[in-house]
Symmetry: C2
Subunit: 480 residues, 2 copies
């Protein structure tokens, strides 16, 4: 007998006899109607039980959360709410779920807070919300790979354990094999890393960029898609200690080409989910609308979810130089009325989330790309402009999210790079290999980093980044 | 003016006027013929320079390793060795490469050892061999995602930093934020992990399986593809401290379904590269043939690379129970003549690489799947058979590689799992969430792990696993 997924049965356009389907009971009404879900899609399959001819013990075991296997015939539904339903011939209980146990969990069919769901992260994917979020996440990830594959990029895996610090100053997690109870020391009292697994101090990567650059300078166009880490004590709805980052890097490409890529790429992957995740996005949109009813109007999203995604698909990103942005911000109402927490006074100020969101949400009303930032507030590897004070950096700012992409054209000139490293104290011995690429056929090249969870946040309308990754890692939390 | 990749020009079927192409000089012969490579494919584009009308300074800078930009017309080639060539109109030197600098590196056009190439891992992707390996690796990775996406699996990212140890006994890297110079201790002298970032002891994951199981028990079919870690002091050509693993997990699936998946999956991804990496595989095959000429005949691969891949595509994997395998091994010549390092005497023995390779390479002559292993030599989460002494485990064994896949049907019965955990001392409090899934709609489910680098080794014919990942991590080595 053939086994089918729920999604296959729901999409069937003719009567199917004697098919088997496995799944979990979401609800059982009137001793007759099972709502069966197997994770293959949002919707449940209605299975109609002939309760008069079904064993009493089995009927009792058909309860919320139970895993069952059903054989039956797929027919047009007589009831409302579904096109088709399965007329059940036989049922097998695979794994029961004691209602007393279920009551203690989020599987109990009632509204649970997102906080509560997080505490039971091993079960939350069995709810409509998290099923939808994780299917959208998966499809987004596939779209990422498909985009780059179609556009001539090679996928590379840069190291997770690393001796170098790409950003020059990130807070990093240490990776070690030393006995922490009795850390070996040298005669001068320093930690003796020669005794450690790698014979040197190592950390979890904050970015694969520097390694990706070396590969772009050979393969032409490459990208990474892997985990990165920040040991920042930021307990916010936007930060994770462990998150997935996408980092394309292109040889022979300047900042304009880099911005073009970011825009084209983001539009492609969002378009992909509007085509492949229709039901899940509709559900998430309604969930958000429902959720926001309890919020004051000013805190609600300006557009429903799918309209927001369409808006990004249909509008070009507005490109604005940092200098122009500062002028706008200096003269805007919230700045003059001192409504910002950080008042913008002079060129050179680092922009805060409140400023970015003002530009995107109030001033331009569309995604914004800021470029040519002051060198002093950006990383050492960004290409210095001829003005000597700005660098070819760019940030893509999204409504509700703020910065979703950060990128730059890289400094390809050996002398300029070396003197910058010396100036800010980046160890040139540690990065000898990075520097050396600038002596052996250097060329202009560019790339960016996109935090995958921020993209999933945007695409799903969820508001806390902990709710778009299966098992979030945050300060004081590494459960599961 | 349009810019084209080398691969686009080499595949063009008509004359193209005034196109630009960027790349690196691989060679410059007779002041006339540039072999230009941009990483988009293995082959170089021949660019023919009109040296009489080209500036002397530019001619001098066209040297191996230099990055250049060329404008010209693509024509049928008059010379041998290439179908088309670019008649150069103008050349720009983007980044020179001083021949004195090049001489010190592996960019110098002569044969370098793989060890030497590893020391310059930031440059080796600019060689034919590593360009080919990394393109094949990238295409294999894409095929992985495409296979699972087409077959209804959802991609999930399981945590990298974890408090649990999936295998029960792996050697793990510690992840910490504590000051190693002055590790905080409790009053009783233990390490005070409450002061650490996560408030508990954490490690780098050795497998995402346990978390993947919880997701399969909600989404139905899922897979991971991410980095995993082993702090084993194994300095062999088969081991990395950091490697990428693919772990599918399926609800409502038994061991047979699991083996079916492994076979279908491996054949799919290998077929994909035979279709998408023709030139690279041909090059790697010839490289291997060349390389093996210096080896004694008995150490040479029994088949050329592409024949070996075809062989796996065209033959079903032979399925053999552990018990049958032991009988074969007990009675085979190398065992009787004590040629094995580990003589097989009794049922229950753990198989070594020499035994696995005997079965695959000598006895069956095809990929072999061993199943139903003794419970005592396998992990706690594998499903116990009714005989009470074997578990529903399976290993896929490949020629030249040995174990490429390890998987099992998982123990879905709460009581059996709990007593097994108690028996071998797995902390049930740490894994409360894993256990709880067995009480709330448990069902049979299965999955496996495939070490991605081993697959790349097989597909490229390389012999050292350090040569199929951009920046390998091994004992005493975390350079770059």
């Amino acid at each position: 007998m053939l086994t089918k997924k729920v999604v296959e049965l729901l999409e069937a356009d003719h009567i199917l006899q004697d098919y088997k389907v496995n799944g979990w009971v979401r609800a059982f009404r009137s001793n007759r109607f099972i709502a069966l879900n197997d994770g293959s899609c949002l919707d449940n399959l209605q299975c109609v039980v002939d309760f008069e001819n079904t064993d009493e013990a089995i009927l009792k075991s058909i309860s919320t959360g139970a895993a069952i296997s059903v054989v039956g015939t797929l027919k047009e539904s007589e009831g409302k709410g579904q096109r088709v339903e399965l007329e059940v011939k036989s049922i097998e209980i695979l794994g029961p779920a004691d209602p007393e146990d279920v009551k203690k969990t989020i599987l109990q069919p009632k509204k649970h807070s997102l906080e509560k769901l997080r505490e039971q992260a091993h079960l939350r994917v069995r709810t409509n919300t998290f099923g939808a979020v994780m299917r959208v996440r998966s499809k987004l990830a596939f779209a990422v790979h498909q985009y780059f594959n179609e556009h001539g990029f090679y996928y590379i895996n840069t190291p997770i354990i690393t001796g170098s610090d790409a950003e020059g100053a990130g807070e990093m997690f240490k990776v070690t094999n030393l006995d922490l109870k009795n850390v070996p020391k040298t005669e001068s009292g320093e930690i003796d890393y020669s005794k450690d697994f790698f014979g040197k101090e190592t950390n979890l990567t904050v970015s694969g960029q520097l390694e990706a650059e070396t590969y772009a300078l050979g393969l032409g166009k490459v990208y990474t898609f892997g985990p990165t880490f920040r040991a920042e004590n930021s307990n916010t709805s936007r930060h994770l200690a462990e998150f997935w980052m996408i980092e394309p890097e292109m040889a022979f490409c300047d900042l304009e080409g880099n911005i073009d890529l970011a825009e084209d790429f983001i539009q492609y992957v969002l378009k992909y989910i509007t085509e492949h995740c229709k039901a899940d996005l509709e559900f998430l949109e309604n969930r958000l609308l429902q959720d926001e009813k309890s919020k004051p109007e000013k805190d609600r999203a300006p557009m429903p979810l799918r309209e927001k995604i369409d808006f990004v698909l249909k509008n070009n990103f507005k490109r604005v130089s940092y200098t122009e942005a500062i002028e706008i911000l200096k003269n805007c109402k919230p700045n003059k009325k001192k409504k910002f927490n950080y008042i913008i006074e002079d060129w050179g100020a680092d922009l805060q989330s409140e400023h970015e969101r003002y530009l995107v949400e109030k001033h331009f009303g569309c995604p914004v790309v800021l470029y040519d930032y002051p060198a002093d507030i950006k990383a050492f590897y960004m290409r210095l402009n001829d003005d000597g004070k700005t660098v070819r950096a760019m940030d893509v700012l999204f409504p509700g999210i703020g910065e979703i992409v950060g990128g730059s054209q890289r400094e390809e000139r050996y002398d300029v790079l070396l003197s910058k490293m010396k100036e800010i104290g980046v160890d040139e011995k540690e990065l000898w290999w990075y520097l050396e690429t600038r002596k052996l056929g250097t060329c202009k090249h560019s790339g960016f980093g996109l935090g995958f969870e921020r993209l999933v946040l945007f695409a799903t309308g969820m508001s806390n980044i902990r709710d778009v990754i299966p098992y979030p890692r945050t300060p004081q939390n590494a459960e599961f």
